[in-house]
């Protein structure tokens, strides 16, 4: 198993469309924009599996939580925290850090697992999830958890917040970039479209929205509950650069982030096609596991599959 902090770059040079450069994963100078070598991808995949195990263990221990939408976003979060983001886990308030904003706040266990593996806090803390007095609230609380940029839990609010941080970068002549992760059901919320309209209006090319397009929300399939298709066309019509990727293919995800860094004058939306509950057979595409904790037995079985 890969130790988390090993994968973390304390910072990396921003920008450049340099796709040919190669680098050692653990190097502090690694560029985010390069085509990763196979071994790096493998390391990231191992970390992804590791995060999945954390998610299952944490939610099972808490007895409540949201496995489905945490598992679908694992590769996205892994790519960000262990390769793309310039951040300093030991200096969470570093002004130059790239921002990751979890708008679909019910995926908090995944974010906590990534933060712990990066070294923001001890991995042992993870089991305190959702318990009285824990820094790891059921939905994120930026005042309690180092590395958490935004308090969430009410859907649809993260992209607006992201715009604010992206505007602040401009005001402060900072080069940091802002990444916001949304759910597809979350895209039902009007506030998402208010923000979607505003970001290109403000010309924010330091902003990236990633939509975890797992095609499900609580009451079932998006197509039956509230059809969001054609999702890519919507973002395009709102003025965004739009990319579609297999959200479980880390190489594609990294390429998309790389592409986004080269886009000028407007923000980028990455539509990541994913599977809700990904990695655990009986959770995949099973809406029951949107917001239900696995039993002890189910957790054991899941961990077996993720061994």
């Amino acid at each position: 198993m890969v130790g988390g902090t090993e994968l973390v770059k304390e910072a990396h040079a921003g920008s450049s469309g340099n796709l040919s450069a190669s680098a050692v994963l653990s190097s502090a100078e690694a560029l985010p924009s390069m085509a990763p070598q196979d071994t790096e991808i493998e390391d990231l995949q191992r970390m992804a599996k590791n995060l999945r195990r954390h998610v299952i263990t944490m939610i099972a221990e808490a007895g409540s939580g949201h496995p489905g939408g945490s598992l679908s976003a694992v590769e996205i979060v892994t790519a960000l925290f262990f390769r793309v983001l310039r951040h300093r886990p030991l200096e969470p308030g570093w002004p130059g850090r790239d921002r990751f904003i979890l708008s679909k706040g019910h995926a908090a266990p995944l974010l906590y697992a990534a933060l712990a593996e990066c070294g923001y806090f001890d991995v042992a803390e993870l089991t305190s999830l959702r318990k009285l007095g824990s820094p790891l609230q059921g939905h994120t609380d930026r005042t309690r958890t180092p590395g958490v940029e935004m308090s969430s839990g009410s859907l649809g609010q993260g992209l607006s917040f992201g715009i604010g941080t992206a505007l602040a970068a401009r005001l402060d002549s900072q080069s940091y970039r802002v990444y916001v992760l949304l759910g597809d059901g979350e895209c039902d919320e009007g506030q998402v479209w208010e923000a979607a309209m505003a970001a290109p209006h403000f010309g924010l090319d330091n902003l990236v929205a990633i939509i975890d397009h797992n095609k499900q929300q609580i009451d079932g399939w998006n197509s039956e509950v509230m059809n969001t298709e054609p999702l890519a066309e919507k973002w395009r019509a709102f003025g965004w650069e739009v990319l579609e990727v297999d959200g479980h293919d880390i190489g594609q995800i990294l390429a998309a982030f790389n592409h986004a860094e080269g886009v000028k004058g407007r923000p980028t939306a990455i539509i990541a096609h994913t599977i809700k509950g990904k990695g655990v057979s009986f959770m995949e595409n099973n809406p029951d596991f949107h917001g239900m904790a696995p039993t002890r037995e189910q957790a054991a079985k899941a961990l077996e599959e993720l061994a």
């Binding site: 649809g156 919320e189 009451d219």
Partner: protein
Amino acid sequence: MVMARRLASTREAYGKTLVELGHENPDIVVLDADLSKSTRTNLFAARFPQRFFDCGVAEQNMVGISAGLAASGKIVFASSFAVFATARCFDQLRVSVAQPRLNVKIVATHGGVTVGEDGFSHHAIEDLALACSLPGFAVVVPADAVETAEVIRAASVTPGPFYIRLSRPDTPVVCEDGYCFSLGKAASMRQGSDATIIANGLMVAEALDAAESLAGQGIECRVLNMSTLKPLDEEAIVLAARETGAIVTAEEHLRQGGLGSGVAQVVVQHDPVPMSFVALTDTYTHSGKPQELLRQHGLTADGIQSAIKSVLSRKG
């Protein structure tokens, strides 16, 4: 010390009553915002798919659609969690429902802090303050599953907007079978002349437990189930002030804008007597088990007992 009560789910009572109403009246329609499994409107959806509309995660739109349906003669029940059904669509409740006085019943589940582990984004501690600041809305917090069924039925035949707040966990049953809900009337749950406890929602059970314990100490409390927050039963409050001379209110909500502040306004206008409040004080709550949170914030029989003692010490 106090007897164990049967637990039952208020939202289950809601879902079942909706199905009954759906059979009785073809004008009943139901809406939800991607939470129908939790609010139990899925029971109605399964039986009457044509009259059920899932609006996705879009509470504002749900309220607007509800208003349009109501303006076309439908009796509309619209549900989500209490935080989202008020905070996320307050302007729509105001302009599309309250100002035109349309026949929309907002039935919100997951009220208060007993949502527990989800944390503060999901704890509805201000929903009643919001609902009460919508002129023309009736605002009701049933004490238990028995009263919930009654309240839903009453709302379905009473024209105009309602806000009805239910709980996530199963809660103690305090109303007897055959209990008859009357909008705007407090239900007397226990006699007493030393002080009055006015409570609603799951705090009614705590109030009864507190009264029981206090009786053992020679303090006889009147207990009122003030399930209707609006219109408030001023008569019952004035009588309580006059006859018992001290009042404690108990609610799963911020002190500001809820039951306690409503009662205080009546008391100072008619018969100023000492009061104490068992409620949340200007603070957000955090993840934890429902019972842990209730204890942490004093929303318990013990909390009520202390409040009674405090108020008695100030009694003239």
